[in-house]
């Protein structure tokens, strides 16, 4: 995705560091950077005057001055996803379909994980990485699977980096991800309200409003959030083109991201990618406000517990035992 485009397109900082730049282009880039100021240089958002088209400049200008997603009217939401689709085409030559599907009425998502049944195949992790356009370079993952000794229920005591044939006798496997707390500490820590809980219970991030301060990451007691140190690198043919504004669209550099229960899928009635990929059926997902749903069956008939329940964060993610 990245290799086939001119190196100067991304911004001045890239131009300076690119290997093939000679002295003249170096000085040229430096002068542009100096004119624009060092603060702007750090963000890497100054376009190369030769590379960026006027259409791209216009779209980026409009994008820069848009509102927080929660304050946008429906027209503004539609306008911004149209701009982002066009920008993806102009910048990365990607044909994406972005949605802004609203929450479904009378739906509150909940999730349960069967620690008896999980065998540690990690199909969920690779499905999540693929679905959510996660950075392949730093190997960002929303889900972690821990190989646990019997008797322990705290994932920090488990082995999160196993790679051997599974399942191993007398071990069990426990998966963690964002638990979508009903009383989420991360949303309170955000100084600019770029992250919040949607009415259907999904904790989301407005990637364009986020300033990348990572307070939310520090506030999360579950290590549920990830930070983009660079722009995600994904092979072009592996990009998931069905995207959501609050979900799996390719994050800009320097933004927080996290599991969104695959908001682009769940709001159209689909299961999250991890649930669909799980070969053992350890993952249960459904509507907590539907008394006939699978998740309600688990809560009613199974022994369930939540991680660090004493913190009062009210995660909507239960572990259960067969």
């Amino acid at each position: 995705m990245k290799s086939d485009k001119p190196s100067g397109r991304k911004g001045c900082s890239c131009t300076i560091t690119s290997a093939k730049s000679d002295r003249r282009s170096f000085l040229k880039g430096l002068s542009i950077a100096a004119a624009a100021g060092s603060a702007a240089l750090a963000t890497g958002c100054i376009p190369d005057v030769n590379a960026a088209t006027s259409e791209e400049m216009k779209l980026r200008w409009q994008e820069f001055f848009k509102d927080n997603y929660r304050l946008m009217t429906q027209e503004e939401k539609d306008a911004t996803i149209a701009r982002l689709e066009r920008l993806a085409k102009l910048q990365d030559d990607l044909d994406i379909q972005m949605s802004n599907d609203p929450p479904i009425d009378r739906v509150l998502y909940g999730y349960a994980f069967n620690i008896t049944r999980c065998e540690g195949f990690m199909e969920c992790v690779s499905a999540c990485v693929k679905e959510n356009n996660l950075d392949r370079k730093t190997n960002t993952q929303y889900i972690r699977i821990f190989e646990m000794e019997p008797g322990n229920l705290d994932p920090s005591t488990g082995d999160g980096q196993y790679f051997h044939k599974v399942p191993v006798e007398n071990k069990f496997y426990m998966g963690t991800q964002c638990f979508h707390c009903e009383n989420a500490p991360c949303t309170k820590a955000c100084p600019i309200k770029a992250t919040w809980t949607e009415p259907d219970g999904i904790v989301v991030v407005d990637y364009d409003w986020c300033i990348g301060c990572r307070y939310c990451q520090a506030a999360c007691p579950y290590y549920g959030r990830r930070f983009n140190w660079g722009k995600p690198e994904i092979p072009k043919e592996e990009v998931t083109t069905k995207q959501h504004y609050l979900g799996n669209r390719i994050r800009p550099k320097g933004k927080m991201e996290k599991c969104t229960f695959c908001i682009q899928r769940t709001r159209t009635g689909q299961l999250p990618a991890c649930v669909e990929a799980c070969p053992t059926g350890s993952r249960v997902f459904g509507n907590l406000l539907d008394p006939d749903s699978e998740i309600r069956f688990v809560l009613k008939h199974k022994k369930v517990f939540r991680m660090k329940e004493e913190l009062g964060t009210e995660p909507k993610f239960w572990f259960f035992i067969d």
Partner: protein, 234 residues
């Protein structure tokens, strides 16, 4: 209900309790005898009246879920795409509701079995495969180990049969499996075992037993995980 959820999230998260606490401190600072009586009254109010409120706010989220008994119409969810795989209507119900299971017959390569299992003699080259010699039965341990006709009907090969001798269709094998694995079946009916196909909404379609488990060797084989995780603290 939705109004209640809204108040949980959007009011500044220092509820009644904190306000009262600050009130309490102001009173302590001006601690003179007439005021002490007020403090005493206040403490009584706090002890008697507040616990109810605190209890209500602490457990409201789960109470709200448990109190929701109103049926939710999964089919009313818009934009749900129907399952494309072949399904059959299950013979059982959950909470009085019908659901569908994945068909098994169209997954079996050489169904119908009566194509070969007739009175006519069959001459073939791949005898070993066509006589099912490639199947290793690893179902049940020791004396409990199963043989072919424990599940397959001894006379009509197009069907399975249970221990009472009732014919069971391949598409409804859960009725056969459930006679031993009744706990799993109960969980499967409710949704704690197995899973739905593709959608959480829309018509309920769930995986059949044999969609995931090889009935001849139901335990999953050991294998390497699909990926690995980088260290936590980078």
């Amino acid at each position: 209900m939705s109004r209640h959820r809204y108040t949980i999230r959007t009011t500044q998260d220092f509820p009644e309790k904190m306000k009262r606490r600050s009130e309490f401190m102001i009173m302590n600072r001006t601690a003179i005898m007439p005021r002490l009586l007020l403090v005493y009254v206040f403490v009584i109010i706090t002890v008697v009246a507040l616990p109810n409120q605190v209890h209500a706010s602490e457990s409201s989220f789960l109470d709200e879920i448990k109190d929701t008994q109103e049926k939710f119409d999964n089919r009313a969810v818009e934009k749900v795409r129907p399952v494309t795989r072949k399904t059959v209507l299950a013979k059982e119900r959950y909470n009085g509701r019908h659901f569908r299971v994945l068909s098994r017959k169209n997954e079996i390569n050489r169904f119908a079995c009566s194509n070969c299992h007739t009175d006519k003699p069959v001459t073939v080259n791949e005898g070993a495969e066509l006589t099912h010699a490639n199947i290793n039965i690893n179902h049940g341990k020791g004396e409990e180990a199963l043989t072919c006709i424990d599940c397959h009907h001894s006379d009509d090969r197009n069907y399975l049969w249970d221990k009472k001798g009732e014919k069971i269709d391949y598409d409804h094998s859960y009725e056969l499996c459930g006679q031993c694995h009744f706990r799993q079946k109960r969980d499967w009916l409710g949704g704690a075992h197995g899973k739905r196909v593709a959608n959480w909404a829309g018509e309920r379609v769930i995986y059949n037993c044999a969609s995931c488990h090889d009935p001849h060797s139901p335990r999953f084989e050991k294998r390497y995980p699909a990926t690995y995780s980088p260290p936590l603290d980078r």
